[in-house]
Symmetry: C2
Subunit: 616 residues, 2 copies
């Protein structure tokens, strides 16, 4: 069948039946999976694939291709059946579903070239699609459309409503959400079942064009897509469907979620048997060129001894990166005057995205933007990035290239109190697949490391300090991901002090005091917490009598445990004392809080004296 | 002034002016803070305190007291000014705002007896209040009301809409959200500024009674509260206000967020000067008794050698705990047939809360429920609890007593793929203030540890395994938080294998194989990852030649680094090899995935042989 000749309702129904049959077959072959959640959306996706999607499956990289995101990632059998219907995969591959080594995993991942992002944690596909649509609308002025198949259960996730809100605000008329309202969640009925009125009213209030249709009425589906494409605003189609539709044994039945059909042969027969239909999916139009205006910005450089907060350096450096790399874009969660993302916005307003206080949508938009080759830097207080942890986790599973900056880390922020202090970000972001975690200790280093993040592909994170700290390094000095810098060293060092960020300055102060007490101390700036410079640590362990780590972070999963892991792998018996935030912090001046947490220079001195005395 | 005599509009205005003046004074004394965000809501809170709130400040524990939650926690000066107006604190204490050691921190925390939960991470107060309201409505059938002061900026957080949705669904007529629509966020205008129509339409669609008023019109405010109390459904009041209202220099001005008024003396004069008014806040009615029905449930006990998934034991044990402790309640994120929370629901339906797929609201509700003395256990897939990380972080800052269970951890879940695998939960939850992280290795141990979680006060987390594993321990055997169990030990152990959960079984298999190869191995079940049994590890390090940790989790922040930290603190030079999930997992059978990740028994054997050979 080709798109040139109009397909009859019967022909479209046949396509949908093939999608159902193949969903049943894939799940049967895989021994697990979600055929019933696939069958409910088969008519919706058959009409989309045959009549409206514009996609050159032979060239997934094609810039003008539409995007198709399965926000309900568990409907992967349907997605893979669509690939077969489009001729992108063959039947043999379809039946490798969920097999070890197959790219047709339980939930879609970008190991498949036509998949933009991994889904399967519900409530993420739509907010990520907002990012893709923003790229098309705001940056590329492109004709592609973003189609998102959503589940009804996932509309309970607040992140979906962040997406409705933001898409309406940004008037993303290239975004079409198709909601498969099949009434049944994993364990039973959804909150609203088939009453779509509340959901529709909310989407309407967010500025969307909203339709409520019968998702098995092929003509209604077709008409809904026609209207959505012409809406001029983001469009939502709430399609009432039956889970497991087409097979009486499971159709609209409870306890049929996430498992193969018990009798697949009978189901396939009831659906009219196996088919080998193919559709010619419409090709996208030729992509149009677009232009990015780049205002010139000097590379920031700070004078030695000057006091500059690394968060301010982040803003300066980001503005500079925007000038040297037109792919750099920035997002912020309504705190740009604190993270200093506003300095990028001032220079490159077209490439700045104000995401308001919606950190999940912010990170999701970053992940969406990078699917189009943009290099997103997103910032908020480090503490509030914890809000988006699941999105970061999934972004890494997508192997997405996105960069985050968390400001206001640690107790050293002072009077705002513990709700605003990131004390878990190193631990949380180290425990992300293939992540990079950087913690600059001065402003010039922050500039260099941010450029390193720009060049790095994958998820990277920089934590920045609220307080101003003295500039230590020369402007333009090179710092690499995975490196460290030894600031004080001598042949008779009795102890090594390891810090990063604000605690490096405490280490330097402590080293001065220790020196005057006759205890020479090495000082290492461990600005790259992951990957870590194990070599320097191991040498320090061998050459000095003891190591002391100091961090403005909880002990768990932070710099101390990173170093402990290095020593353990090396089989080193050198004593390690790890100073980290202990107790429950409150409000107060930064110095008082550093002291109360046990991580100021006085505590470093005391720990060093104790460990050296113990060693001697 | 007392509540007995009706207060005039002028008198109420005077109270509001005192709240403004004291907000200005507190921020001036603290040298930082959010006076303008306080002043916008002064009229709203003056009328509430003087006329509608029922609260005995002399007895914060009083069960019948209303609850007042500042979801916009940065308006803390206003809250503390209200305490002064109510006579709960004196002027001297008010002026300790944000001082080191003062309980009047930058954002409210429960160190103050009248504060239920810490706020300051926006978008949390309302969802937590849903939990408090659920306690009143569903469990206690109590008369108290929950008043929540929300900001307009935080309505961008999806978690707020999870709360609107859930409160509407649960018909929480004891919940009143007062939204201070002051039009200005931290860095500039909000998305909707004073156009409350979209927000109002959405709240209405969620089933709330909605009013849009002028938040500085004292009579309108009063009337709005009257209507809200009689609404019979949750009530939202969208009150248009001016940030910094009452002081021309800052009123509705940009760049006035989060800082003291530049000229406080002039501002105080403009507001009519300092006042020392006091209101008698209405006392609550006498609390009514309520009754909890407890169906008898036997303590679960599993036969040695039987294969039982620890997630199933979670469900069985939770049902039993519900029978022995009427304060135990359970929540689940629409996956109760996978986490087995459904087994609690079947026995104790009145104490089970279906939270749908809204993990933030689920954890928030747990935190809310525990403010009333309930012992909430909330469950979902471990991977999806990452969605609620900021709520868990803040719950710990609140010193809240709540318990989470994450199922389906690690690559061993098999075919569903990486989106469903919790591989970061140990790291993330260890890095939470005063947390407990447990990882049972068999079903009987899971029962005992869940009871230990019930008895523990604070945040505790249990990770459970999807796959069935053999029962190792006798029913009723005691396991304590902070303990471990040595399963194999001998005088000539060459190596210690440390696992937990599914990897303990790999360790046991490996120990058998090593024994047959002439390498005696000790095996330790490190079921309590935090706090950890350092003593047993240190002894093993001393008595055996090497340690090997094995975990179905990323290397960062997991069991391996926990053990490395212990060894480092002890100055041990015993070699440690940490096996953890490496590479990007996909779909497949659990055995294949454990092997591919490098954490099955074959990898343990090989690592042990290598390290023993290296030592000899």
């Amino acid at each position: 069948m080709t798109a040139d000749q109009p397909l009859s309702r019967e022909q479209l129904h046949e396509l949908a039946q093939q999608l159902r049959v193949d969903s049943v077959r894939a799940a049967a072959a895989g021994g697990s999976g979600h055929p019933t959640s696939s069958m409910s959306a088969a008519d919706l996706m058959a009409v989309l694939l045959a009549k409206h999607l514009r996609y050159d499956f032979s060239s997934a990289e094609k810039r003008a291709n539409d995007h198709l995101v399965f926000s309900k990632g568990h409907a992967s059998p349907l997605l893979y059946a669509m690939y077969k219907l489009a001729g992108a995969i063959d039947d043999e591959e379809l039946l490798t579903f969920r097999h070890f080594g197959s790219r047709l995993q339980g939930h879609p991942t970008p190991e498949i070239p036509w998949v933009d992002v991994a889904t399967g944690s519900l409530g993420q596909g739509l907010p990520i699609s907002v990012g893709i649509a923003l790229a098309g609308k705001r940056l590329e002025h492109a004709d592609f459309r973003v189609w998102v198949l959503c589940g009804d259960s996932e509309l309970a996730e607040g992140s979906m409503w962040e997406a409705f809100e933001h898409a309406g605000h940004a008037q993303l008329d290239n975004l079409i959400a198709v909601v498969d309202v099949n009434r049944l969640g994993q364990r039973g009925p959804t909150m609203h079942e088939w009453d779509t009125s509340s959901l529709a009213a909310r989407a309407t209030a967010c500025g969307w064009d909203v339709q409520e249709i019968d998702g098995h009425d092929i003509e209604a589906v077709d008409a809904a897509y026609e209207r959505a494409l012409a809406a001029g605003v983001p469009a939502a189609i709430f399609a009432r469907t039956k889970k497991g539709s087409g097979v009486a044994a499971v159709e609209d039945q409870p306890n049929q979620h996430g498992k193969p059909i018990e009798d697949p042969a009978a189901a396939i027969e009831e659906l009219g048997g196996e088919r080998s239909l193919r559709v010619e999916v419409k090709r996208p139009p030729e992509p149009q060129p677009y232009e990015i205006v780049r205002e010139a910005v000097e590379r920031p450089a700070y004078e030695s001894g000057e006091k500059v907060a690394t968060r301010a350096a982040y803003g300066d450096a980001l503005a500079w990166l925007g000038a040297i790399d037109e792919k750099v874009v920035a997002l912020d969660g309504e705190v740009g005057n604190s993270t200093y993302a506003e300095r990028f916005a001032a220079k490159h307003p077209d490439r700045f995205f104000e995401m308001y206080i919606a950190e999940q949508q912010m990170v999701a938009a970053a992940v969406g933007l990078q699917t189009r080759g943009w290099k997103p830097f997103a910032s908020s207080f480090g503490a509030f990035l914890s809000r988006a942890y699941d999105f970061i986790r999934m972004g890494a599973i997508s192997a997405a290239d996105f960069k985050l900056c968390g400001s206001h880390v640690g107790v050293s922020i002072g009077p705002d109190g513990p709700s605003q202090m990131a004390l878990e970000d190193i631990a949380a972001f180290r425990a992300v697949l293939d992540s990079v975690v950087l913690y600059p200790s001065d402003a010039n280093q922050a500039v260099e490391l941010l450029d390193a993040m720009r060049r790095h592909r994958g998820f990277s994170y920089m934590r920045t300090t609220r307080e101003k700290t003295p500039v230590l390094y020369e402007a333009g000095e090179t710092f690499e991901i995975g490196g460290s810098r030894t600031l004080r060293t001598g042949d008779d060092d009795a102890v090594t002090l390891i810090g990063a960020g604000i605690t490096l300055h405490e280490c330097l102060t402590a080293a001065d005091e220790l020196a005057s007490n006759g205890i020479p101390a090495r000082v290492v700036d461990l600005y790259s917490v992951k990957p870590v410079d194990a070599g320097t640590i191991v040498v320090a362990a061998r050459e000095t009598g003891a190591l002391i780590t100091v961090e403005d972070h909880w002990a768990e999963g932070g710099i101390g445990e990173t170093v402990a892991g290095v020593l353990a792998r090396a089989g080193s018996g050198t004593p390690l004392v790890s100073l980290a935030v202990s107790g429950r912090p409150g409000s107060g001046p930064p110095e008082a809080l550093l002291a109360a947490a046990g991580i100021d220079s006085a505590h470093v001195v005391s720990a060093a004296e104790d460990v050296v005395a113990g060693n001697s």
